[in-house]
C-alpha cells in the first residue's frame, strides 16, 4: 500500500521542485535585466565626474567660453583650457526664465480650466490637443519657433525664439500636472467654500492653488528640468553666442548649445564633460527637489 503513494510523492516533489527552479531562474533573469537597465545612469555619471571635474573651477562659472585658439594654445602647453561657460549658464537661465513666465501662468489657467470643465466636449478636445502637443518632437517645435519668431518677430536668431520653443514644450507638461494635482484636492473643501458664498475666483486663489501648491511646484520644477537640457530646438532658434547676452532679440547661448559647439571643435573637447556635468547637476537637482516635495506631501 505504501509503495505507490511514495512514488506519487516523489513525482509530485520533482514537479514542485522544477516549478520552484523555474521560478528562481525567472527571478534571476528579471533582476539581471533590471540591473542592466539602470547601469547606464551609474556609468554616465561616473564618466562625467571622472572626465569633467578637472575643468570645474571658479573661472568656469565667471568667464565666457574661450575661442578655439586660446583652447589650442592651452592644450599645446599642457594647461587647463582657460575661460568658462558663463555665456551658456546665463543664456540657459535667461531662456528658461522667459519660457517659464509665459508657460506657468497660461499652463496653470488651462490646467484649472480642464479641471473645472473636465467632462465637457470642448475641454476633452483641449485635453487631447495638449497630449498631442506633448508628443511633438522638440525639433519640430524648433521649426515652428523659427517660422513664427525668427522670421516674423525678431528677424533673426534670438533668445525670444529659443524661449518660445521651450515655452511650447513646457506648456503641456504644466497643464497636465496642474490638472492631475487639482483632481487630488478633495471636492468637499471646494464645496465648503461655495457653501460659504465664496466667489469662483477666490475659490481658485484661496482654496485650489494653496491646497495643491506642492503638486503645482513639483510640476513646474519637473517641466523646467525637461527643457533645460534641450538642444535641438535651440539650434534652430537661439543659435548661440560667444558673449553673455540678456537682449531678447539677439542670439543667445545655452549650456547644451555650448556642449554641441565644443563637441564639434577638436580643441575644445575637454570642455564638453565639465559642461555636461553642470547640466546634469541642474537636471538632477531639480528632480531630487521635486521628489523631496512629493515625499513630504505624502507624509
Amino acid at each position: 500500500m505504501a509503495k505507490p503513494k511514495l512514488k506519487y510523492n516523489s513525482i509530485l516533489q520533482r514537479e514542485v521542485k522544477s516549478r520552484f527552479i523555474k521560478d528562481k531562474i525567472f527571478s534571476g533573469i528579471v533582476i539581471t535585466l533590471s540591473l542592466i537597465t539602470i547601469s547606464p545612469i551609474v556609468l554616465i555619471i561616473l564618466k562625467l565626474i571622472a572626465k569633467g571635474y578637472k575643468q570645474i573651477n571658479l573661472s568656469f562659472f565667471t568667464e565666457t567660453a574661450p575661442n578655439t585658439f586660446q583652447a589650442m594654445e592651452a592644450i599645446n602647453s599642457g594647461n587647463v583650457i582657460p575661460g568658462g561657460i558663463l555665456n551658456g549658464i546665463t543664456g540657459s537661465l535667461f531662456m528658461v526664465f522667459l519660457a517659464s513666465i509665459m508657460a506657468i501662468p497660461i499652463g496653470l489657467l488651462v490646467g484649472i480650466f480642464l479641471y473645472e470643465n473636465g467632462t465637457k466636449r470642448y475641454a476633452n478636445i483641449v485635453k487631447d490637443i495638449t497630449d498631442i502637443l506633448q508628443g511633438v518632437p522638440s525639433i519640430v517645435l524648433g521649426l515652428i519657433s523659427y517660422f513664427w519668431v525668427v522670421k516674423f518677430i525678431t528677424n533673426g536668431f534670438s533668445a525670444m525664439a529659443g524661449s518660445f520653443a521651450l515655452f511650447i514644450m513646457m506648456l503641456p507638461l504644466i497643464i497636465r500636472s496642474t490638472e492631475e494635482t487639482l483632481k487630488m484636492v478633495p471636492d468637499t473643501i471646494k464645496e465648503a467654500g461655495f457653501a460659504l458664498g465664496v466667489p469662483y475666483h477666490k475659490i481658485i486663489l484661496r482654496v485650489l492653488i494653496p491646497t495643491g501648491l506642492s503638486g503645482l511646484i513639483t510640476g513646474i520644477l519637473l517641466s523646467i528640468s525637461r527643457i533645460i537640457g534641450e538642444t535641438a530646438p535651440l539650434m534652430l532658434t537661439a543659435l548661440g553666442s560667444m558673449s553673455v547676452n540678456f537682449d531678447i532679440s539677439k542670439p543667445t547661448s545655452a549650456i547644451p548649445l555650448l556642449i554641441w559647439q565644443f563637441y564639434n571643435d577638436p580643441n575644445m573637447v575637454d570642455l564638453i564633460w565639465s559642461s555636461s556635468l553642470l547640466l546634469m547637476f541642474f537636471v538632477l537637482a531639480l528632480n531630487l527637489i521635486s521628489k523631496q516635495i512629493i515625499s513630504k506631501r505624502n507624509k
Binding site: R19, F20, K22, D23, F26, S27, I29, V30, I31, T32, L33, S34, I36, T37, I38, P40, I41, L43, I44, K47, L48, L109, V110, F113, A123, I125, V126, I129, T130, D131, I132, L133, G135, V136, P137, S138, I139, V140, L143, I144, F147, I168, L171, P199, Y200, H201, G229, T231, A232, M235, L236, P256, I259, I272, S276, L279, M280, L284, N287, K291
Partner: protein, 284 residues
C-alpha cells in the same frame, strides 16, 4: 455696470484654453504652408523618392531614406527596450514591491529619464561607439544600430514608468488567489499579471516608440549622417529629426521647404503613434 469678476474669471480660463488650440492649429498650418514648395515641386513622390541632391540646378529631395532610418532606429530601440523595461517594471511592481530597493531602482530610472539628449549623445559617442568598434560590428562605430541602442536607453525609463503604473493597478485579490492555490511567482506573473495588464504594457511600448521617432541630438551624433537608405542595421543613415538638425543651418529655398516637409511628416507620424497609444490607454 458692476464688473463681474465671476464672469471675467471664466472668460480668462476659456481664453487660456484657446491658446492651446491656436498654437496647435497654427503649428499644423505653418508646417503645411512651409512644405508647399517641396510638395509642389516633387508631388507625393517626395515621400517615396530616395534621392537627396542639393547640387544647384539639379536639386532633388526625397524623404524615404530618412523615413526608413527613423523607423529602423526606433524599431531596434523598442526591440532592445521590451525585455529590459518589462523586467524593470516587474522588479519594481512585483518582485520587490514597496521595498527600499524598488524605490532606489525607481529613482534611478527617473534619473535616466532626466538625462538630456545631448549628454546621451556624448556618452554614446565616447563610450558606446568604441564598444561597437571593439565588437567588430563596423569600423567606425556609427550607424543605425548604435543610434538604436542609445535610443533604447533613452526610452526605457519612459516605457518602464508607464508599465510599472499599469502593473501596480492589477488587483491584489487576483494575485493572492493564485498564490493561495500554490502558484509560484513566475506563474502568477504569467497567468494573472500579464493577462490583466497586457494592453497597458503594450501601450507603454507604443508610446516609447513614439518618443524614439522624434529624438534628435543623440541620434544625430551617432547615426553617421549618410543621406541614403541604409543597407543593413550596421550601415550609416539619417533619421527625419537628424537630417533637420544637420542641414537646417545652411538651408534655404527648396531645401528648407523639403526639411519642413520632413518635419511635417515626422509630426504626423508621432501624432498617429501617440494617438494610438492614448486611445488604447483610454479604453483601459
Amino acid at each position: 455696470m458692476k464688473w463681474n469678476v465671476e464672469k471675467t474669471t471664466k472668460t480668462l480660463l476659456f481664453a487660456a484654453s484657446l491658446v492651446i488650440i491656436i498654437i496647435a492649429s497654427g503649428m499644423v498650418l505653418s508646417l503645411m504652408n512651409g512644405s508647399i514648395p517641396a510638395f509642389k515641386e516633387f508631388g507625393l513622390k517626395f515621400i517615396i523618392s530616395t534621392e537627396w541632391n542639393p547640387t544647384e540646378g539639379n536639386e532633388h529631395y526625397g524623404a524615404l531614406p530618412f523615413i526608413v532610418g527613423t523607423i529602423l532606429t526606433s524599431v531596434i530601440a523598442i526591440i532592445i527596450c521590451i525585455p529590459l523595461a518589462f523586467s524593470t517594471s516587474l522588479f519594481i511592481s512585483e518582485l520587490y514591491r514597496g521595498t527600499k530597493v524598488a524605490s532606489i531602482i525607481g529613482t534611478m530610472v527617473d534619473m535616466l529619464a532626466g538625462i538630456p539628449s545631448i549628454v546621451y549623445g556624448l556618452w554614446g559617442f565616447y563610450v558606446l561607439r568604441p564598444w561597437i568598434i571593439d565588437l567588430g560590428f563596423n569600423s567606425q562605430g556609427y550607424g543605425i544600430f548604435t543610434a538604436g541602442l542609445i535610443l533604447a536607453i533613452m526610452v526605457i525609463p519612459y516605457a518602464t514608468s508607464i508599465s510599472t503604473e499599469i502593473m501596480l493597478m492589477v488587483s491584489n485579490d487576483l494575485k493572492e488567489a493564485a498564490y493561495s492555490l500554490g502558484a509560484t511567482r513566475r506563474e502568477v506573473i504569467f497567468n494573472v499579471l500579464i493577462p490583466n495588464a497586457r494592453s497597458g504594457i503594450f501601450t507603454s511600448f507604443i508610446l516609447a516608440f513614439g518618443r524614439a521617432l522624434g529624438e534628435t541630438m543623440a541620434v544625430t551624433m551617432l547615426i553617421g549622417n549618410a543621406n541614403i537608405i541604409p543597407k543593413g542595421i550596421f550601415d550609416t543613415g539619417n533619421t527625419m529629426a537628424s537630417i533637420i538638425a544637420n542641414q537646417f543651418g545652411e538651408a534655404d529655398g527648396l531645401k528648407l521647404s523639403s526639411l519642413i516637409a520632413i518635419g511635417l511628416l515626422l509630426f504626423v507620424m508621432t501624432g498617429l503613434i501617440n494617438g494610438l497609444g492614448k486611445f488604447i490607454i483610454k479604453k483601459l
